[in-house]
Symmetry: C2
Subunit: 195 residues, 2 copies
C-alpha cells in the first residue's frame, strides 16, 4: 500500500532510536521482564507516549524489534537459494530451516525469549509463529508417507527450538551452541527418517 502522508523526520528518527535502544536493552538484560517500557523510553531519549503511539503496546514493540532482526533470515527462507529457499527438496529444507532458526535464537537469546513470552505469554499468538509453522508444514507434507501428521509434526519440531528451552540448555545445562545444533539435527533426522 502507498503511504498516506509523508512521515515527519523526527518521527522516523525516534522510531529508529526506540528500536535500537530496545534491542540493546533486551540483549543486555538477564530476563525480558527486567526491561520495562519506561526503561526503553528513557534509553531512547523519548517520552513514554511516543513509544506507545508508535508500537501500540509492549507486544508490538517487541515484535517490531524482532522483525527488524530476523528479516534477512525470513527473506532467505521465503525466496532465497537452496537449502533454505523454496526450491530446495523438503528432506533438505526442513533440517536447514530448523538449524537456521536455532542459530538465530542462539544469537539472539534474550530477544527471542522476550518475543515468545510477549502477548498473553504464548508464542502461538505471534504472527511470526504461524509463518514458520506454515513453511515447515508445507515442506513436510511434500515428503512421502506423512500426509496427516505434517501439521502436528511441524509444531513438535518447532517446539524443540523454543527460546526458553534453548535458554535452559545453554544456561543451566551448559550446552554449547555447536552441541545443541548437533542434537537438534540428529533429532530432526530421526523424525524424518535417516537416509
Amino acid at each position: 500500500m502507498a503511504e498516506r502522508k509523508a512521515a515527519r523526520a523526527d518521527a522516523l528518527r525516534n522510531r529508529e532510536a526506540v528500536l535500537a535502544a530496545a534491542d540493546e536493552l533486551f540483549a543486555r538484560s538477564e530476563s525480558p521482564r527486567g526491561v520495562s517500557m519506561d526503561d526503553v523510553a528513557a534509553a531512547a531519549g523519548v517520552g513514554k507516549g511516543t513509544l506507545f503511539r508508535r508500537f501500540g503496546d509492549r507486544t508490538g514493540l517487541i515484535g517490531a524489534v524482532f522483525e527488524s532482526r530476523i528479516e534477512p533470515l525470513r527473506a532467505a527462507v521465503e525466496a532465497g537459494p537452496a537449502p533454505l529457499g523454496p526450491a530446495a527438496p523438503p528432506r533438505e529444507r526442513v533440517p536447514a530451516v530448523l538449524d537456521a532458526l536455532l542459530r538465530f535464537k542462539l544469537d539472539n537469546r534474550h530477544l527471542s525469549l522476550a518475543l515468545e513470552e510477549a502477548g498473553s505469554g504464548s508464542p502461538y499468538q505471534a504472527a511470526h509463529y504461524a509463518w514458520w509453522h506454515g513453511i515447515l508444514r508445507d515442506a513436510l507434507s511434500r515428503l512421502p508417507g506423512r500426509g496427516d501428521d505434517a501439521d502436528f509434526t511441524a509444531h513438535a519440531l518447532l517446539a524443540a527450538t523454543r527460546a526458553d528451552l534453548v535458554e535452559h540448555l545453554a544456561g543451566v545445562e551448559g550446552m554449547s551452541p555447536r552441541g545443541m545444533r548437533d542434537r537438534l539435527a540428529a533429532f530432526v533426522d530421526t523424525v524424518l527418517g535417516r537416509v
Copy 2:
C-alpha cells in the same frame, strides 16, 4: 520429616480453602493472568497475608495446587504397575508416560498453563519439569543405540506436550483430545522407531 508442632485447626482449614478456591478460579478463567492473588484470597474468604505466608509467592501457590492435582499420576509413574511404572519396558513406558501427561494437561488445561508460565515465565525452573525429564531420559537411555541423545530427546518430546501448545491446538486449531493424543502417539512412535 516429623512435624515440629501441631498445626492449628484454622490454619489447616484455610489452607484447604485456598487450594480449592485457586483450583476453581484457574479452571474457570480464560488466562492464568486473569487470576490475581487478591482474587484467590477473596474467593477463599481469607486475607492476602495468609495466602503469602502459606505459599510464599504466586509461583508457590500455583505449584501447590498443581501438585495436589497431579499427585496420583506422579505416584503411578514412580511406583505403579506397567505400562506407567518403572517395571515397564522403556519402549512401552515412554509413550505411556507421554500420553498420560498429555491427558492430564488436556483435563487441566488452565492449571497447566498457569504452572508453565509461573516462575520467571519458564517451565524449566519448575521442580516438576526436572522430574518428568529425568524419568524420560532414563527410560530413553535404556533403549538400544541412543545413548547421548537421550537428554535432548527427552526435552524435545516433553516440548511436544507443552501446555501452551496444547491450548493452541485445542483452542485455535480446534483439535479434539482424541486427535491430539493420536498425533502425539504417532510422533513418539516415529521418534522411537516404529516396530
